[in-house]
Symmetry: C3
């Protein structure tokens, strides 16, 4: 009798989230760990940098798209983080980092309620939120210049409430992928898969459902270049993203006491540089022009690829991984274009394909000097360092699951919306540009604009 | 006799600022508090972010104003921080944070001289300076496109030497408002009032003295939209401000040992998101257009409103406070426009009105889990958490004093300048744009511009 | 016999870099110094800010140059950091911070190989890299709008592999300049000389070899203004640089345990403000126009000048040093223009001349309260604080060596390239703008542009 009462009470406490110590003011947490402040500072500052990547994505997309859609792109790149913030607080965080249910989904922490009113939980929420927002915003490049704003609003909701957090739970929330019996399970240090492959493959689904922009392919089916309206904005955005990535990757130790953060910062930077160098040289070899757009995408591709392995590799590996990313992004851009998929900013190639490559690269280049955010416990070791094929298999499984999950759910979401209300703007609106029909304001009312 | 000599010596020492330990190198401060480095890192990095908000304000104002005044806006947004830096070092800091005189004003620390040559004092000066610079720059949006540059130079001086630091002393420097006998005295965690209401209401005074821009109101008195020249810059500026606010609010603990910083970061972000969501949905309900400008202002309104309460509330309250801010900013923009006040970027509504609301909200939503930058001592508790009406009264008094002080002194400054030399440029200059007559250089000499 | 074997073994170990403890994971470093995390956080975050200055330089240069070359400027400002990252990892870092050879050059640490796979070494590499990248990018402003991209690629390589790291070794790597027998040897806290004078004087060499842009000088030899295409971008870039400088200078303590960082931040800011104020007032006195471009350059000049002395001076000295920088930059811009040197963005005046002034100013204003990144050991004391002429002589020697080294090697590099393949684009390409011939893409294809 008493025992039953006890069980019920315990159940209630757990449902209220009381299974961990609640400390909204932070004094108890500090008393328990006097070294916590430097970790909080590190995680918050890195999180701020990750947030700032929103500005980077907005500028890159604006730069690579046309002036007549610039207001629309600003609207999308703002609303996705707005939606992410509210929805991830309500549901996403619980699905991702809540108490695990059979390795599939988290089930506690709704609305940051009850015992989640705790400095440590809020800190984790903030960190996970800025990542969720990044995944959401990646998609907007692939579906640019033709998607209805309403559809974008709803899609952001789906990504940050369902698609991202559930897959995130599988890898970072104690879910099944992190426990598959190959290597030490599937690992993804800072999210080549969780963030970038997810974003990129949802974007691929969106681009396919939408179809190409008016004028992207000639009558012969050959792709035509539709140049963006500002290389300066694209470059600014890339610099902001590169800057933000120094929060994204090194901050993913979730602790300043992991001095490995210095290695991660260096690797992050080298992969970006190598990707940019290879991409611009490749295109120069072919066209004799120094292609800035491709260099910027090569840089981002290097950053995406190194995101999974950054903590487990040496500097030279970062250069190799980034170089391959620079190659892959060029090939991938041509590949999709030649298959009739119109991805205005190259989001599928940069994030989808190179996120995939980043996950695989862990299984090759991880050198066994570092583990899961610590030098203790199981270390990550790839094929080239004598780790055997186990980790590579784990990485391949995770990468395939990630791409399939994102592409599959992306298809469902975009097809469902298309069925209900049509996701694409009218041809007239598309030709005129989305800014005035959707938003009532052109982006540049003081300038004479070619309406190409 | 000896006693008299002692008193004189003490007086001299005090006048030299020797009442606290002077440590320009920092070794003694470190020895006394080996945990100081993480606090210094936190405060400085957050201060750098607050500084960077200057770029955000510049971009928002440029974006929301016309191309023909863009050089002028860049000049203003730079010169105000330049002036603030020099004037606040000379006088402002002493008025604000110097030794208190009867609760009214500070009286020591001129020119960072003497014993102020100390790492701790310089740290505090840096922090207070970036806030003073923010207050100054807020005004420039409200008086944009028609104020003489000379007047702006002088006004910046008045705000950063007098208006801001004296009110700041009343709330943060140990002055009378912090000690009124309601609740625990008037409180304002990161400056909804001290920075934003001050800036917004000085701006209101300026906008009234200047009168509306040529063409803002039709012959029937109805307001006309004057669209800004770049939604992209406005969005970029908003992202930069949002980013900088993560320094503004969490950094206001002035200590990394307050792990509450995690809660503050989350609240800051949620209020921004809620404000943006409500503003865009509200305008959509009315016009069926997704208004990006209003979404950006909604976002900023949420940030302004949550600035005072951010440390004393839960996540859900941040969503509510931000939502109300999103509503208020829309209503306020219409309100002032319909009363003939021309505020080109909505600075009065974003900063003035929502700063006011932020102060009030503390008296409602403060939940009693946190105090004055510490979990010890008096906690802040509002009406909804059983704190009684005391805190709400303290907040209302402070908000009214703040608005009246800023508006009153703003009126005096702008009217006085107007009397002496006329604050407004000539109609010809205004129509032509201020860039060439005031600065000799158009902002965009390579582009064809509509001179609307 | 055993002794010989021992020597050989030692030699092998040293050549493998094993002369310091190798700790790729960071656990041993943390165990040896539990206070390391806050230093790592400080250095990394400041390094991220310095990296972000790349975006600032890109925007300033874009803003001050014409729209028809904007793609080219983005290409250059990206490729220099890309090149720097790869080349500095391969060679530059070893030349600069490797084991000293006779005070002339470093000789170990190639490719971050072997024992350099260590958290502390990677941290130092990251910090030195972002500085090397800054030196490289400074040049691009002086040679803007007429240099072939290929030449820029090669020049970046020369600067980051040879010119910068060898001079850097002399001052920061334990080389001969740091040990000259005057004062406490030549000192340069954060690189007025190592970074800015080097960049500025290589740029001067480039500008001379290239000759002025088409149309810069009239038939009478009088200089004509060629206005840049966006004051907004120039202002944004300046704000980003100012922001990044808060990493550049305070981070150069390379330790958060030096609370002097607060003083450095304040000095950095005051010099920027003073430089901006003096420059705009000077030009106003002459032209009655508020010249925004000169104000921005005055701000940057103040920042450059205070970079060497920032840690060794009081606030008032920072104001004086910055004010003189504001004066110098105005005079220097006129000086070079009147001697037929065309430096489109004023890089020689801002970085070269004011870097020189910054080095000298240490010998005058250093107040003897701080030393070489510590309050212990030899303190830096200048003439005005009774330090005698020794430090001033050391500073003058270093400044002259720095300018001569940079200008001399710059001349060799640019002349050699000019001989082999011609560094300047064809007149037709220059008039048309470099974007299409070099890169295949105009920066702003949606806008109507004046091709001036």
């Amino acid at each position: 009798m008493f025992r039953l009462l006890g069980l019920i009470l315990t159940g209630l406490l757990i449902s209220a989230g009381a299974c961990f110590a609640q400390d909204p003011g932070g004094a108890a947490t500090l008393a328990a760990n006097p070294q916590a402040p430097v970790d909080y500072v590190w995680i918050l500052v890195c999180g701020f940098l990750v947030f700032f990547m929103q500005a980077g994505f907005a500028m890159v997309e604006a730069g690579f798209c046309r002036a007549k859609n610039a207001t629309n792109l600003m609207a999308k790149n703002t609303i996705d983080f707005v939606t992410a913030s509210l929805v991830f607080m309500a549901f996403g965080f619980a699905f991702m980092m809540g108490n695990d249910y059979k390795g599939l989904i988290g089930t506690s922490g709704w609305f940051l309620h009850g015992a989640n009113y705790d400095v440590g939980r809020y800190l984790m929420f903030f960190w996970q939120l800025v990542f969720a927002g990044t995944a959401a915003t990646i998609v907007s490049g692939a579906i640019a210049e033709r998607l209805k704003f309403k559809a974008y609003f709803l899609y952001s909701l789906a990504v940050t409430a369902i698609i991202y957090p559930i897959y995130g739970h599988w890898v970072w929330g104690g879910g099944w992928l992190s426990k598959i019996p190959f290597g030490i399970g599937h690992v993804d240090f800072a999210g080549s898969g969780v963030v970038h492959t997810i974003g990129g493959f949802v974007g691929l689904a969106g681009a396919i459902v939408l179809g190409p922009r008016f004028g992207k392919f000639g009558k012969d089916g050959k792709p035509k270049a539709i140049p963006g309206h500002s290389i300066v904005l694209a470059a600014l955005g890339t610099f902001i993203l590169w800057f933000g990535w120094f929060g994204f990757n090194p901050g993913s130790t979730f602790s300043a006491h992991q001095l490995r953060i210095a290695v991660i910062a260096v690797n992050t930077n080298l992969a970006a540089a190598a990707g940019a160098a290879v991409a611009i040289l490749l295109v120069f070899a072919k066209t004799k022009k120094w292609d800035v757009g491709m260099m910027l995408n090569g840089c981002l591709a290097g950053l995406v690829a190194v995101t999974a392995p950054c903590a487990w590799i040496e500097a030279w590996s970062a250069v190799v991984i980034g170089s391959i990313a620079g190659l892959l992004v060029v090939l991938s851009v041509y590949f999709w274009e030649n298959r009739g998929v119109d991805d205005p900013v190259g989001a599928v190639s940069v994030h989808g394909i190179n996120g995939f490559w980043g996950l695989i690269s862990v299984g090759l280049f991880a050198d066994g000097t570092y583990g899961l955010g610590t030098t203790e416990g199981p270390l990550v070791k790839g094929l080239l360092y004598g780790g055997g094929p186990g980790q590579l298999i784990a990485q391949a499984i995770g990468a395939l699951v990630c791409a399939a999950w994102a592409f599959g759910l992306g298809l469902i979401v975009f097809k469902a919306m298309d069925k209900f209300f049509g996701v694409r703007v009218s041809p007239q609106e598309e030709i005129k540009g989305l800014d005035i029909p959707e938003h009532g304001t052109p982006a540049y009312p003081n300038f004479y604009i070619f309406n190409n």
